[in-house]
């Protein structure tokens, strides 16, 4: 699924501390995991664009570290365009953010959502 590869390339370009769905268990530094939801934009003959909702979950032991990494992703992703794994990103827009302290993990979590359009 080349969209998955394109998303990984895009996020990895911004910051390499990103993992698909799950981070290694021993990971202690600030890190991010992501999931995607697809809403294809159809024309009569085919699908012309892939509209992707990207949810990025950033975890860190310290709140400041989580917010710093979140800011780094925002700065790198907002209004980003370009070519990633043979897919062309034509729009990327930050749409929401929330933060939480997860006592079970003893970590801070910042959750960001972006809307992306790939050709």
């Amino acid at each position: 699924m080349s969209i998955r590869a394109a998303i990984y390339d895009l996020l990895n370009d911004v910051d390499s501390r990103v993992h698909a769905l799950a981070a290694p268990q021993e990971e202690t530094n600030p890190y991010a995991v992501w999931e995607i939801r697809r809403e294809p934009i159809r024309v009569q003959e085919s699908i012309i664009l892939e509209e992707i909702t990207l949810t990025l979950n950033i975890y860190a032991n310290l709140r400041d570290d989580a917010l710093t990494l979140a800011t780094s992703y925002f700065d790198g992703l907002e209004a980003k365009t370009g070519s990633y794994s043979n897919k062309t990103l034509i729009a990327c827009t930050w749409s929401s953010e929330s933060e939480d302290y997860i006592s079970e993990l003893d970590k801070w979590n910042v959750s960001q959502e972006y809307n992306l359009k790939f050709e």
Binding site: R42, V43, A91
Partner: protein, 133 residues
């Protein structure tokens, strides 16, 4: 059983050319409208009931499309409109023609928007003559 939306399409080509009609690239919807005039024949003897006979039948084909990154679908249609080219219009259901005839591109529109929207276009063709297959 209902028909899926993408199985009703309007195809177009230059009338009289050997090229088979094609769906206008990136089409998102299409509409084929047939109208018949009703000529009033009400007379003094008709009382309170109006009466009519059938008049001219005319048809239009129209649709919307996403403008491609090169805008080739828009500029191709404009070239036909600007040259007054007669267009062959064919309406198909699941690949089977149900209406076929010629027409003239009467309107063409292009619309832009913001960075979270897509540029769209629309067209309208006034059909000419009998559209029956």
């Amino acid at each position: 059983m209902a028909l899926r939306g993408d199985l009703l399409v309007i195809r177009a080509s230059v009338s009289g050319s050997t090229t088979a009609p094609v769906i206008i690239a990136e089409s998102t919807d299409c509409t084929f409208s047939v109208n018949a005039e009703a000529l009033e024949t009400t007379s003094q003897t008709s009382g309170l009931n109006a009466s009519f006979i059938a008049g001219k039948v005319s048809a239009t084909a129209s649709g919307s499309f996403l403008i491609g990154s090169s805008a080739a679908n828009l500029t191709s249609l404009f070239a036909y409109q600007n040259a007054g080219t007669l267009i062959e219009v064919r309406v198909e259901v699941s690949g089977t023609p149900i209406f076929d005839g010629n027409g003239v591109l009467t309107s063409l529109e292009a619309s832009g928007g913001l960075s979270d929207s897509l540029a769209t276009g629309s067209y309208s063709i006034q059909c000419s003559g009998d559209m029956a297959v």
